[in-house]
Amino acid sequence: MTPAFDKAAIDDIINQHKNLPGALLPILHDIQHTAGYVPAETVPAIATALSLSRAEVHGVISFYHHFHSEPMGKHTVQICRAEACQAVGARELEQHATSKLATQLGNTTADGAVSLEPVYCLGNCACGPSVQIGDEVHARVTPERFDTLISALEAK
């Protein structure tokens, strides 16, 4: 079975950054940007290039919420759970979203379309509840508006 990611592209990323001071996070960011996640198969090559143990690399990947070791859904939808958004209905929005998509925070829908992730603050605290889809933040997301945003994703 061929891996779901481009090994040559990963090697390029590693070679490009490996001499930077503190290179590991920039490498992981670029790999996730390219492959959509950080495949476990890439860990040995990263470890060798940076003179780290595989355990150290794995430890870093698992420490940060941003990095994923498994493939994500086609779209990533992040719901802000923090206080400023709670004050304007984020708890209700979270409940609505999990029931609408029939999944839990941190999981992907059965059809692989949407990964629903928690996030703690997007810096849009004056106009919550906030939702981020890909790199786009959406403000004042009511349950109705959430449904509209999800319908727009399904059309893509």
Binding site: V88, A126, V137
Partner: protein, 509 residues
């Protein structure tokens, strides 16, 4: 040619600014009108976003909140000539929310093109660096001390003292690190500054480099801010191209390089030692202090680590002088603090004021009360580790000392408003839950205490052995406060205890 400004800020775009900009371009093309569309930063009046501005003979006229569907009506009503219409707000500078502020950090926000070095210089930018380049390093440090500038990240440590320590270490590779991991809910001042006026931060860091003899700087930016990342990268490239970064700053022969690095969604990396570990490519684990980062910091070298607003303030301190800065504020809280109005608030945004105004005036005169129109029940100041204040405590003065006396903290100036539908037991539980999610795991009081905290609060919610469990929760808070290695576990008891103290009715009391 007429210039039209449409913000490129995260919140403005979250409210449709990109669509508004496209609609304005399309409508102008349709009507054969030539206009110069500038994507400025936001003025920080978020309840008016998308706030569109038009240059007229009288000054910049504001229109807002504008939706893409309003654009053709705006053209019909003659907004390019600044004519009144339903969305007209008059001269931007005369909007009371803006007019009544004392802007230092945000003096250029929303006015300039954030990417343009020329625009920055035309509005006072790089005057501070020019002055600093003619000064001896010790004189630069002295000026920062003289200004009374204190760290804006939350701990409020005098910046000049930190700089002096790094300055006094023997010559070797030193670093300037900017903590741009603004993870506190209810805060967005760093984000707004980086998106609206990034060169101010770049200039401040360059001055810091000259002061302590550091030739390399890093901006550690949280990954949740992709727009700020794009703006910073371009602004850095433009500063290099204009000769304000690199090995010959403004022709002086002095050297400072600056790079932006992304975090990866860990709240704890806002803690300075954990941030340094993260920059080194490790798990963001908190370090024991001493040694201080000023002596053993990034890659084991002497390091100045300051918040975005602290470093940005340095630019204006050097532009206008330490005395000018010191004259703002009260007592040992000198200068201004950009307060951020968030949560259930009618007019959310940035309100930059000299220290010493009252929280109530901020909430009422600027904020206009709650968004829902209901009564205010609680206000959390200073992020998720800040205390919940009841309505009766809102007359408190906005300065570091008054907040410390009230067992609260001003922190980074975030103000989150809750109306009377809030359940304070749920808020206390969330504080513990957040600590479970975000603890780095190094010390036991934080790692295990937070999990036990959630369990005990659940029992209190169910009414199980209420009195005993409230005592147990207090014990746990004490252990976390005194036993934790850093502010994460050490301050999580603040929101929990304040919720219990001020809102006993929500805890079965």
């Amino acid at each position: 040619m007429i210039t039209v400004y449409v913000p490129r800020d995260t919140t403005a775009c979250a409210l449709g600014a990109d669509a508004v900009a496209e609609a304005i371009s399309a409508e102008a093309a349709k009507r054969n009108i030539e206009l110069n569309l500038v994507r400025n930063g936001s003025r920080g009046l978020f309840w008016l976003e998308t706030l569109v501005e038009v240059t007229t003979d009288k000054g910049r006229m504001a229109f807002g909140p504008v939706n893409a569907t309003d654009v053709s009506t705006l053209f019909d009503a003659g907004f390019l000539e600044g004519e009144d219409g339903d969305l007209a707000l008059g001269l931007t500078e005369d909007i009371p929310y803006l007019k009544n502020q004392q802007r230092v950090n945000f003096v250029r926000a929303g006015i300039t093109d954030p990417l343009s070095v020329d625009d920055y210089k035309a509005h006072g930018g790089y005057a501070g660096l020019t002055r600093a380049l003619a000064m001896q390093p010790q004189a630069i440090v002295d000026e920062v001390k003289e200004s009374g500038l204190r760290g804006r990240g939350g701990a409020a440590f005098p910046a000049g003292i930190k700089w002096q320590t790094v300055h006094d270490t023997p010559p070797q590779q030193k670093y300037i690190v900017c903590n741009a991991d603004e993870g506190d809910s209810g805060t967005f001042a760093d984000r707004l500054l980086m998106e609206a006026d990034p060169l101010q931060l770049i200039e401040g860091m360059t001055i810091a480099g000259l002061a302590v003899g550091a030739t390399q700087g890093y901006i550690y930016l949280r990954s949740e801010y992709p727009k700020a990342h794009d703006v910073l990268k371009t602004a850095l490239a433009n500063a290099y191209a204009a000769g304000y970064l690199g090995d010959n700053i403004a022709g002086s022969g002095k050297h400072f390089d600056l790079e932006v690095r992304l975090g990866a969604g860990a709240y704890i990396c806002g803690e300075e030692t954990s941030l340094l570990d993260s920059l080194e490519g490790k798990r963001g684990m908190v370090r024991s202090k001493p040694p201080l980062p000023a002596i053993v910091g990034l890659f084991g070298q002497p390091t100045v680590i300051n918040n975005v607003l602290t470093l940005a303030s340095v630019s204006s301190i050097f532009e206008k002088g330490a005395a000018h800065y010191k004259d703002l504020g009260v007592g040992r809280s000198t200068g201004t603090l950009p307060m951020q109005l968030a949560g259930n608030i009618k007019r959310g945004g940035i309100v930059e004021l000299a220290f010493g105004s009252s929280l109530r005036s901020l909430l009422e005169d600027f904020g206009g009360g709650t968004l829902s129109g209901k009564a205010i029940k609680a206000v959390q100041v200073g992020g998720p580790l800040g205390a919940y204040l009841p309505e009766s405590a809102l007359d408190i003065s906005l300065d570091y000392e008054s907040f410390a006396a009230a067992k609260a903290m001003l922190g980074h100036g975030g103000v989150v408003v809750f109306d009377d539908s809030a359940d304070m037991l749920e808020q206390a539980r969330f504080a513990m839950e957040f600590c479970v999610v975000e603890s780095c795991g190094k010390c036991t009081p934080c790692r295990v205490g937070s999990t036990r905290g959630v369990e005990v609060i659940d029992k209190i919610r169910e009414g199980k052995q209420l009195d005993d469990n409230l005592i147990l929760l207090e014990d746990l808070c004490e252990t976390m406060e005194y036993g934790s290695l850093c502010a994460m576990g050490g301050l999580t008891p603040f929101p929990v205890r304040s919720a219990i103290k001020h809102f006993p009715e929500d805890f079965g009391g």
